[in-house]
Symmetry: C2
Subunit: 161 residues, 2 copies
DNA sequence: CGCAGAATGAAAGATTTTTTCGCGTCAATG
DNA sequence: CATTGACGCGAAAAAATCTTTCATTCTGCG
């Protein structure tokens, strides 16, 4: 897991490749090559370069939560009491360490954190809130939004081109 | 793109495989086999079965937004005026069709929709709000949370085991 | 003009994925 | 109690993909 965080420049070939991989990274390089007008080795070199530069951060399978018994997705806005760097960092680490917390963002506005939580039951969520919020004396308050429909889910980034 | 939405049962082998693929789906089946104590073909059959059943919904590359010029991630809570089925469905379709809307959830609570928006600049966000919210007369109000730190990002589902 | 650096494609080599096939297990059945 | 069929397994072969190698092209620049 080595990271060369050297920011690289991407041309339209790279963007076209990314656009394909964002949707299906099991696409053979040969097909990608046909789509973008490059040979398979050229495609491969560009992919590896983007992986090393961190443009491609990961290659993952997307699992349907409902089919593995994790049918409840919840948004939580968290407001903290004190925003010292230490306490914020501690909160970031704690939230990030919880496997039920699928996503965590530190934000401006009427809240300080926004969490996406995935749990099997409301009981599990209730237990989590007790552990994570009531058990943390820097949490001023939190608001819960229970998802009824995951209208659009993904991590695809809109790409120029 | 055929989907057999037949819900299947997953054993501990399947869950172990999912856990690996959720983190890195470029892991060779041979290595997965070693990790879970199965042969490569057995792993392969299980993966294919889970893909056909929709347990695995997609295989994607995760792209770093900052490195493709989309450095701003924003949460938006949207509250609508009328919650008739037609209007809600129309809103779902509209939000889902916007490429800058990376994620969209229909939720209960003090808001009706939560959006995750990815844009290159605040100007682009401003333009999007005009088009999407001010230009939609069923939007009562919306609240914006600008992300300062993407503490944890992903789609990994917590798996039993 | 010529050279260095960077990227390409064709082809060969290495690895992985996929298929084939025979075996063992288990449950239902005669 | 034997038989049958469904099911999933592993070994091995076959097919496809990924990766490396290498000669070539193109560009910028001294």
């Amino acid at each position: 897991m080595s990271k060369s965080l050297s920011s690289i420049t991407l041309d339209s070939f790279d963007l076209a490749i990314l656009n394909i991989l964002q949707r299906d990274n099991s696409t053979p390089q040969r097909m990608i090559g046909e789509a973008v007008n490059l040979s398979a080795p050229a495609v491969q070199r560009r992919i590896r370069r983007m992986e090393e530069a961190g443009v491609i951060q990961a290659n993952v399978a997307v699992v349907d939560p409902a089919q593995v018994g994790q049918s409840i997705t919840i948004f939580v806005e968290v407001e903290v009491i004190s925003e010292t760097a230490e306490l914020i960092d501690a909160a970031k680490r704690e939230f990030a360490s919880i496997s039920e917390v699928q996503q965590c963002y530190y934000v401006t506005g009427e809240a300080d954190f926004v969490l996406v939580v995935v749990v099997p039951t409301m009981n599990a969520y209730e237990a989590l809130t007790r552990r994570l919020f009531f058990g943390n004396n820097n949490v001023k308050r939190f608001r819960t939004f229970v998802t009824m429909d995951r209208v659009k889910v993904g991590l695809a980034v809109p790409l120029p081109g």
